[in-house]
């Protein structure tokens, strides 16, 4: 009975502004964060153009976030389908070691080594996806197992040592706009190919999620697997597929990361899973699945990426970065709920006040 009365008030469908535009809350927080940093810098330097907003720094942030960003795109799809993947960090380390070994020791050639690395990631993620889609064990557990296993395999392959390369992958970080200078700082501007790859992948994934039947099915599976099954969706195949895509993206991301630092090493992907999950969650994707989008994730990627950078600009010690990142995650994720609770309260008040009889208004 109470269902009906509460539903009646809901039937007006008064969704708040923040609910209608799902990425608005986090965008607002991000913009205010940027403004605060810029203002603080202005105050410290006494009115000089804040270096945080200088083109060279913005491009810097882009380079830093592109690789985790690619993984975050994959994580978005996995999480929308109702899954999660804790193994991406160690898988990236494993891929970097496989690829580096391929180049420097196994003589696979550059293309062969990259293929070997990416294929490793795809195969391993497919195995996990297969288990997750067939067995009733939480993806959290399966991928946690994956994470530990991959770390072991990686350490075995490299004998717990780093695998040094001699710049064979430098073409991935070549500067596409060599020679341009930043008008603010006078430093060189850099846009490497992998930054473009990130945008391209994010664009493709965004289109896939929104404008294809495959994308709609991922949402359906994450939202209500039972109803999805009864609507003729192959739930198992959907669950498997997102992990396969994840494998491909982790493989590519790991190769790009390897090109940046030139060393295949176990610490390369450390913490990547935490960072990417944080980015995705900040971007509004629900842990329980069924909800989220790539634009939100992009905002999350840039937001999390700029926190560390901003702390550097303000010359705060790196320890503070962790505190700031942690607080931002909590604020960004709870703000959505707070804002919708507030707007619900407001709309309820409006509803109480609005119904003035038409006749009474006319008389006035």
């Amino acid at each position: 009975m109470s269902e009906r009365t509460s539903a009646d008030t809901r039937d007006g469908n008064d969704l708040s502004l923040f609910k209608r535009h799902e990425n608005l809350t986090v965008t607002a927080i991000f913009v205010s964060f940027v403004i605060i940093i810029a203002v603080v810098q202005l105050l410290i330097t006494g009115g000089k153009y804040p270096t945080f907003l200088s083109p060279v720094n913005l491009l810097n942030i882009l380079q830093q976030v592109s690789v985790p960003g690619i993984v975050a795109v994959g994580m978005t799809m996995v999480m929308i389908s109702g899954g999660i993947d804790l193994s991406v960090g160690m898988l990236a380390s494993l891929v970097s070691i496989v690829t580096a070994l391929g180049v420097s020791k196994w003589h696979f050639g550059v293309v062969g080594s990259i293929l070997a690395g990416v294929l490793t990631a795809v195969v391993l993620e497919t195995v996990m996806g297969f288990i997750i889609s067939r067995v009733k064990v939480e993806p959290f557990i399966i991928t946690l197992g994956g994470m530990i296993t991959f770390e072991g395999i990686a350490l075995l392959l490299c004998n717990s040592r780093e695998v040094i390369m001699s710049g064979e992958l430098n073409f991935i970080k070549a500067n596409l706009i060599a020679g341009s200078k930043d008008p603010v700082t006078g430093l060189n501007l850099v846009i490497p190919p992998y930054v473009l790859a990130f945008f391209f992948i994010a664009f493709l994934a965004g289109m896939l999620l929104k404008y294809t039947k495959y994308g709609r099915r991922i949402y359906a599976v994450g939202n209500n697997p039972n109803a999805a099954f009864l609507a003729g969706i192959d739930v198992k195949a959907m669950r498997l597929s997102v992990y396969v895509i994840m494998g491909l993206l982790v493989g590519l991301a790991a190769v790009m990361l390897l090109s940046r630092i030139n060393v295949g090493i176990i610490t390369l992907g450390q913490g990547l899973e935490i960072d990417t999950i944080a980015m995705v969650v900040i971007g509004g994707t629900a842990l329980r699945g069924g909800k989220g989008n790539i634009v939100g994730t992009l905002i999350g990627v840039f937001f999390l990426g700029s926190i560390g950078n901003a702390m550097n600009m303000l010359r705060l010690p790196s320890e503070v970065q962790f505190v700031a990142k942690g607080i931002v995650i909590v604020i960004a994720v709870s703000a959505g709920h707070v804002s919708s609770a507030v707007s619900e309260f407001m709309s309820r008040r409006r509803k109480v006040m609005v119904p003035v009889p038409a006749a009474a208004v006319k008389q006035e």
């Binding site: 809901r10 039937d11 039947k213 709609r216």
Partner: protein
């Protein structure tokens, strides 16, 4: 006999529904008092009043002669224990821990496991139940779990135990066992209120029987001399002219034929469904109706039997296959198996039809138009198709589920409880939509526990009992009595 509980002219209404009207009822020590009535007769409300979950609007409750006000806490403290149909147990804890949950025996903050174990063993032995106190609750069958809940009542020396449909979906052996246990409990001087749809159980254990109908007490009997026929007569007796009056449609050729379907708890069910008809499925909760629907739609596995759709045999049935065969399945529980609550109306409407198109791309703008179209056509109360399904009321949510299936342009519609939890006005609208389908030459299978709905909507009624189809009633012979006799009476009618 000593009176434990007495209700004196108790009434209780909910928004627009009088669930209990001046019901008097009493329970004595050491007796089993059965409550009979159809779905919606007021049994659940009566239990909830006794367990303190609902406060009566009028009338009074007496406990051992004293007038009392019951809250859930107060009811337990007085010694009234309610055992609900669904188990509320801690699956991963032991039997003993379940019994003593929240009422642990202990000294100075430490648990006295030995004492708790002693009491558990004592009671379980008294009940002749072969259950060890250390067994993990989740490993027990649901019949054994019920025994543990009853044991709890004995451990804490309750005075009254209320059992709501304790044997739903039990095997015959489990039922025998449970009934024996209940008789043992009666012998210890506890008063028992027993609610069951199974009349044979009632006749096996009851001392007294009270029949409710539409929130009123119809009759009260000592079990001696009472007959099943009399009991059924008391339970039915609504005026059929108050039911929804539906148009009939000429009935066409067969579209679906089931031959000896077996599996998923269903045994050997055969029937034919024809264009333009509603084939109702009546029966008590747990009689296997929803399970049969899952077999038809392919969401559960068929062990034996054959299913023909449009004359062609269906092999390897799956929901995907069924949708391609133009079947639609409006499930019983729209929240868990029907809707995508956190998706828009448009997305909900297009989801099932994806199977029927080969395109790779989806077109959100098209989906919105389709969604808006259905909002108009089914008069769904929503501003537009961008609204989340979650924000709608029950009736409108049900219409979204209908829209999802109408969008697949299906031929065969399975409605499992089409109007559960829906207000009266939406109910009528949904009936009209169903008649509209019939006029287009579609066929409907309808599972319903709402007796007026079954009678007013069905062209024929199949009655299920314990996973089997026990009868098929033709239009002219459909009455509450004929349905109820088949579904709760003896098999041979």
């Amino acid at each position: 006999m000593k009176e434990i509980l007495r209700l004196d002219h108790v009434s209780k209404s909910f928004v627009g529904v009088k669930a209990m009207q001046g019901i008097s009822f009493d329970l004595c020590a050491g007796e089993i008092h059965c409550l009979c009535g159809e779905n919606g007769a007021g049994k659940s409300t009566l239990i909830k009043v006794l367990s303190g979950a609902h406060q009566p609007d009028e009338g009074s409750i007496y406990f051992e002669g004293q007038k009392v006000t019951l809250t859930p806490h107060q009811a337990l403290a007085l010694g009234i224990q309610t055992i609900y149909q669904e188990h509320i147990v801690f699956d991963s804890l032991s039997v003993m821990e379940n019994i003593f949950m929240g009422l642990e025996v202990g000294r100075r903050g430490l648990l006295d496991r030995r004492e708790m174990r002693r009491q558990t063993v004592e009671v379980l032995q008294y009940l002749k139940a072969d259950i060890s106190p250390e067994t993990i609750m989740g490993r027990l069958s649901s019949g054994q779990q019920k025994t543990v809940e009853i044991a709890k009542g004995l451990v804490f020396k309750r005075k009254a135990i209320i059992l709501d449909e304790p044997t739903a979906s039990y095997s015959a052996a489990e039922i025998d066992n449970l009934l024996d246990i209940i008789k043992t409990v009666r012998a210890s001087g506890i008063g028992i209120i027993y609610i069951s749809h199974h009349l044979d159980e009632v006749f096996r254990i009851a001392d007294r029987v009270t029949v409710l109908r539409d929130g009123r007490k119809v009759s009260h009997y000592q079990i001696q001399g009472l007959t099943k026929t009399q009991l059924i007569k008391d339970m039915v007796g609504r005026d059929p002219s108050t039911f929804y009056q539906r148009e009939t449609v000429p009935i066409g050729e067969a579209v679906l034929e089931a031959r000896h379907l077996t599996g998923n708890g269903v045994r050997d069910v055969s029937f034919v469904l024809r264009r333009g008809e509603v084939l109702g499925f009546a029966g008590m909760t747990g009689s296997g109706r929803s399970e049969l629907m899952e077999l038809l739609f392919g969401s559960a596995r068929l062990d034996a039997g054959e299913l023909f759709i449009g004359g062609r045999r269906v092999r390897h049935a799956s929901p995907r296959q069924s949708i391609r065969n133009r079947m639609c399945f409006i499930t019983e529980d729209r929240q868990t198996t029907g809707l995508f609550l956190e998706q828009t109306i448009a997305q909900n409407v297009m989801v099932a039809n994806m199977v029927n198109t080969r395109d790779f791309f989806a077109n959100p703008a098209d989906d919105l138009r389709t969604g808006d179209g259905f909002i108009q056509k089914l008069s769904i109360k929503a501003r537009d198709a961008r609204i989340w399904a979650m924000t709608l009321s029950g009736g409108n949510q049900q219409k979204v589920v209908l829209a999802k299936w109408f969008n697949t342009a299906g031929d065969i519609y399975i409605f499992d409880e089409p109007t559960r939890g829906i207000d009266v006005a939406s109910k009528q609208e949904i009936y009209q939509l169903m008649v509209g389908l019939l006029k287009e030459g579609k066929a409907i299978i309808m599972v319903s526990s709402d007796m007026p709905e079954v009678i007013s909507m069905s062209d024929r009624v199949a009655v299920m009992k314990d996973g089997e189809m026990v009868g098929l009633i033709d239009r002219g012979a459909i009455t509450e009595e004929s349905i109820l006799t088949l579904s709760i009476g003896d098999k041979a009618v």
